[in-house]
């Protein structure tokens, strides 16, 4: 009866959320008086998981799993669940994980709760707090099945060091052609830039920018801060920016440390989508914009004046604090 955690990697390197979910798993294991086993795919530096409380790593080295495949990954993890007699499985809230977790739920007859924001309130009955109504509320959800799958929200629980002796084993799940009936044939992905899902800072702009040709300064501001860029719904509907940048209730949720909203008035759907961000800054010409009521800091002013100044001053700040 251990806790199994799926630690995601990309090109062999663990993602930031891998250490968050490992930390979460360690907290659950402590409550249940058991240990944490991690499963990773083609990852190097598996030992690093010991820093966050993992005592055993099952590393799958398999050429066919170099590209994410939800069904094959879900089946491999399910096999590890049986091998370890795990009753609780911890996963992240990445797009890939939200693809595979429901498959595990179906296969293992396991209750799955995504978007969990805190360690379990209790482990018997097993109750967790999660966001609901697209971040307009929270729910306490009780899981009644024998096996439980918990999806931890990005940047909610955090990574906590908890040095533990760790052993790494090779694990070869039995996969067949039937696991590969959906095939990745092309990946089109921005390389070397922060994504909305895992960026510490997100810089977002709305219709106040007046047209797609004015996004240069938004991208420059994001570059200076190492931030991801995002936009409001009308901006993506107008085709000024790709849909992948739309944050809000029907777009992506944002749970960054810092969210900077420029020229976004703050419709209720947008505010819901970004409510999990820790610090919010609003720059808007209209002092009555609803976003000011949901923000921590604000500047009432024209983006075309404020943003270039902010870029200049941040460059100086970065140079001094480098």
């Amino acid at each position: 009866m251990s806790v199994l955690v799926y630690t995601e990697s990309e090109n062999g390197k663990f993602k930031k959320n891998a250490f968050e979910v490992a930390s979460y798993a360690a907290a659950v294991a402590k409550q249940m008086d058991t240990s944490v086993t991690a499963i990773s795919f083609n990852a190097s530096e598996n030992e690093s998981l010991g820093t966050y409380g993992v005592s055993k790593v099952l590393n799958v080295s398999n050429e066919n799993l170099k590209t994410f495949n939800a069904k094959a990954f879900a089946n491999a993890i399910s096999e590890a669940v049986a091998k370890e007699s795990a009753s609780v499985i911890i996963v992240s809230s990445s797009t890939d994980t939200k693809f595979l977790a429901p498959l595990m739920s179906g296969k293992l007859q396991a209750g799955y709760v995504p978007n969990v924001v805190a360690a379990p309130e209790s482990t018997s009955p097993f109750t967790v707090k999660r966001t609901a109504f697209s971040n307009k509320g929270f729910a306490q959800t009780q899981i009644n099945s024998d096996i439980k799958v918990i999806g931890v929200s990005n940047n909610a629980f955090g990574a906590h060091e908890n040095a533990t002796a760790v052993s790494v084993e090779n694990f070869s799940p039995s996969l067949s052609d039937a696991d590969f009936t959906t095939k990745s044939i092309e990946v089109d992905k921005v390389v070397g830039k922060a994504t909305i899902a895992d960026a510490d800072i997100v810089v977002s702009a709305g219709r106040g920018l007046k047209g797609p040709e004015n996004w240069g300064m938004i991208e420059e501001l994001a570059d200076v801060l190492g931030a991801a860029t995002a936009c409001s719904k009308p901006v993506s509907d107008l085709g000024w920016r790709p849909h992948g940048e739309h944050v809000g209730q029907t777009g992506k949720p944002v749970a960054s440390n810092l969210y900077i909203a420029i020229g976004i008035s703050g419709a209720i759907q947008h505010l819901a989508g970004v409510s999990s961000s820790k610090v919010k800054v609003v720059i808007n010409t209209d002092p009555e914009a609803p976003f000011f009521k949901a923000a921590d800091y604000g500047i009432v002013g024209d983006a075309f004046e404020v943003v270039p100044q902010l870029i200049e001053k941040l460059k100086e700040f970065k140079a001094q604090n480098a």
Binding site: A101, G106, F133, Q142, T182, D188, K189
Partner: protein, 246 residues
């Protein structure tokens, strides 16, 4: 091609969310209900398959009689027939088992659901359904083409898109991108009149277990007042020293 679109009946995106009965239930008082937006993108894509490729489109909803106006709207948009499974959809695992029965009995080639409902955000129904029925599955699907039994889908990934080749029978968890916002259809009078005559079959739920249960709800804490500054130096100073965000 026979398509089933699974629709969820959810509060309109502009709704303010409140809870009742000692914070154990969503307060639907004064709330306007709509087709879940992620499902509506899927339904609209299904209309394209109907018009261009001669597909038959059914919609299914797990819900009590109060969801029928939303189901009628799907019929008015152009679905041919509807099925309502007469049960309260309180758990994704339960809902998937109900829909599995409908898919099995209906012989559907393609099942389109939303990647998540915007109320309870479980995001699990299409995936669980795929394992229960051993069908192929693509989540966060932003485009879908079907040629015979071959399907090509795009799915959104963190930081980009991935093109996927698969085959029918297939289930997708759809979202915006399947069609554009401007492609969404507002039912016209003729559609609304025709929808009244279309079959809306009510079936009783099968025995199924519930894996989870929401026991209590709460609203986010109220935010403190915003600190307004009038220059970027002060802003950088506050973000660095007070918020520790940069």
């Amino acid at each position: 091609m026979k398509i089933l679109v699974c629709i969820s009946n959810v509060p309109d995106t502009t709704s303010k969310i409140n809870f009742t009965d000692g914070d154990t239930k969503f307060d639907s008082n004064g709330v306007q209900f709509v087709i879940n937006p992620n499902d509506e993108f899927g339904l609209t894509r299904a209309m394209w398959f109907k018009e261009k490729q001669g597909a038959t489109v059914h919609v299914a909803n797990v819900g009590l009689a109060t969801t029928e106006p939303t189901i009628r709207k799907a019929l008015a948009i152009g679905a041919d027939e509807a099925i309502r499974i007469n049960a309260e959809p309180t758990d994704g695992f339960f809902v998937a088992q109900q829909l599995a029965e409908v898919v099995k009995n209906g012989g559907y080639d393609l099942v389109i659901a939303g990647r998540e409902s915007i109320d309870y955000n479980g995001g699990m129904v299409p995936g669980i359904l795929a394992t229960l029925l051993d069908m192929n599955f693509v989540n966060t699907c932003v485009s879908l083409e079907v040629d015979g039994t071959n399907a090509t889908a795009m799915r959104e990934i963190d930081g980009g898109k991935e093109k996927i080749a698969t085959s029918l029978p297939l289930i997708i968890g759809g979202q915006k991108g399947l069609v554009e916002e401007s492609d969404l259809r507002i039912p016209n009078m003729r559609g609304i009149m025709m929808a009244r005559k279309k079959a809306l079959n009510v079936v009783e739920p099968v025995d199924a277990s519930k894996a989870t249960q929401d026991t209590k709800f709460e609203k986010p804490e109220a935010k403190g007042a915003v600190k307004l500054v009038d220059n970027v130096d002060d802003l950088i100073n506050l973000l660095h020293n007070e918020a520790k965000a940069i």
